[in-house]
């Protein structure tokens, strides 16, 4: 990997963190969770960009990115004693095809059926990849520590 690529990845890592943090503020995440939210989003986006840089398709890249992201969200949830939703909902925001679903609707009203079908299929595939990734990681049983803990 060249230096320029490393620099680009670093830039994307920062951008992912900043973007996620901004949405964390908009979703009124508790203050003590700000940094953890940013880290979750940054890691997910970094993994996605890395996978794309290595030549993986967008759908697989989403799957590869959501697994470390959800894992980190779970770790933060245990460490900071907050529901996993707090970290997952913010952290996954860069990956979730909110833009894809918008483009689908946009091409629909523009009467561009070919483009609409393409972005609808992409959106659906990415959604499926995210669903598989999330359920894989959230389904992992965690070793129980002393006391009752919720995942």
């Amino acid at each position: 990997m060249t230096g320029a690529q490393c620099l680009e990845l670093l830039r994307q890592l920062l951008l992912g963190g900043v973007g996620t943090l901004c949405f964390g503020v908009l979703f009124a995440v508790p203050r003590r969770c700000y940094l953890a939210c940013a880290a979750t989003g940054a890691l997910g986006w970094l993994a996605y960009e890395l996978a794309v840089m290595l030549g993986v398709g967008a759908v697989t890249a989403n799957l590869l990115a959501v697994i470390p992201l959800t894992l980190l969200a779970r770790l933060f949830a245990i460490g900071l004693k907050a529901p996993v939703t707090v970290f997952l909902l913010c952290g996954i925001f860069p990956l979730v095809p909110g833009a894809g679903i918008y483009y689908t609707a946009y091409y629909f009203i523009q009467n561009d059926n070919a483009q609409m079908a393409a972005s609808a299929a992409d959106t659906l595939k990415i959604a499926a990849a995210l669903a598989i990734g999330i359920s894989l990681v959230l389904g992992l049983p965690l070793p129980r520590r002393k006391g009752r803990k919720k995942p």
């Binding site: 908009l26 925001f93 979730v96 909110g98 689908t104 609707a105």
Partner: protein, 261 residues
């Protein structure tokens, strides 16, 4: 000291039921998923010794009964915002109840406080809308000029959302998307930015990412009905955004004869 009774009488049971329903409503209103709402309500019922507690939660309603159906309650939860701080607070409360660190009186006070946790102030929301738009414009492959245009649009739409926060959500989304597109078209001239890259960055504030994520998670958990409700919500919001953005782009083409790229 904990005032949890092992065998609550009729009056007490009714009070516990009201408390659990209010907690469930708070979770659901503020962006917790269906599964977590059900689970938290059941944990609370167990901690407060409310026997034979059964609950069924949908995206927009809670149905629960306790005892041999001597108490049953239904709550309609139409309002949906995302306030994860309140979700975290109720979660913390449920943990305290389960560990016996809080009694019913204390829990009721804490729940009332959790429901009143405010949103971040106007300045914080506008700032994060502006910075977030710019960051997403960069992330989706835009350059510096695109990010600057996105920041302007994000700032404008955050102010608009704040000023008109009492208006219906779908109307806000439609007009907000129109506003974003308008600002991006206006700003892209002097900044030499690409309207598409700038607009999608700012539109991320309005895109139904949360509804879509929740829909996926509901489907994964097997709550197909709730997942469908959220999915329809996401599709409708996206359609509103597309209509708003499309209208402005079409008008611009009609007025100037230039198709925006």
């Amino acid at each position: 000291m904990s005032d949890i009774q092992l065998h609550p009488d009729g009056e007490q049971r009714r009070r516990i039921m009201d408390f659990i329903m209010a907690a469930g409503q708070t979770l659901l209103e503020n962006g917790a998923e269906v599964f977590r709402t059900e689970q938290t309500m059941q944990i609370m019922a167990r901690s407060l010794h409310l026997r034979e507690f059964h609950v069924y939660v949908l995206t927009n309603g809670i149905f629960a009964s306790a005892g041999t159906a001597e108490i049953s309650e239904v709550r309609n939860v139409p309002a949906r915002t995302v306030h994860l701080g309140r979700v975290a607070a109720v979660n913390e409360l449920s943990r305290e109840l389960a560990e016996g660190r809080a009694g019913l009186d204390e829990a009721e006070v804490q729940l009332a406080a959790a429901r009143r946790i405010p949103f971040p102030g106007a300045a914080a929301q506008i700032l994060s809308g502006t910075v977030g738009s710019a960051a997403f414009a960069f992330m989706f492959g835009g350059g510096l000029a695109d990010a600057a245009a996105a920041a302007a649009a994000g700032c404008a739409v955050s102010v608009y959302l704040w000023l008109c926060r009492r208006l219906p959500a779908l109307f806000l989304k439609l007009t907000g998307a129109a506003l974003i597109t308008l600002v991006c078209i206006l700003a892209s001239g002097p900044l030499a930015a690409s309207v598409n890259h700038a607009a999608i960055g700012a539109l991320m504030i309005l895109t139904p990412g949360v509804a879509f994520t929740m829909s996926i998670r509901d489907f994964v958990r097997g709550d197909y009905l709730s997942g469908t409700i959220r999915l329809i919500d996401a599709v409708l919001v996206a359609a509103c955004l597309a209509c708003g953005a499309g209208l402005v782009l079409r008008l611009h083409t009609l007025l100037t004869g230039v198709t925006v790229a």
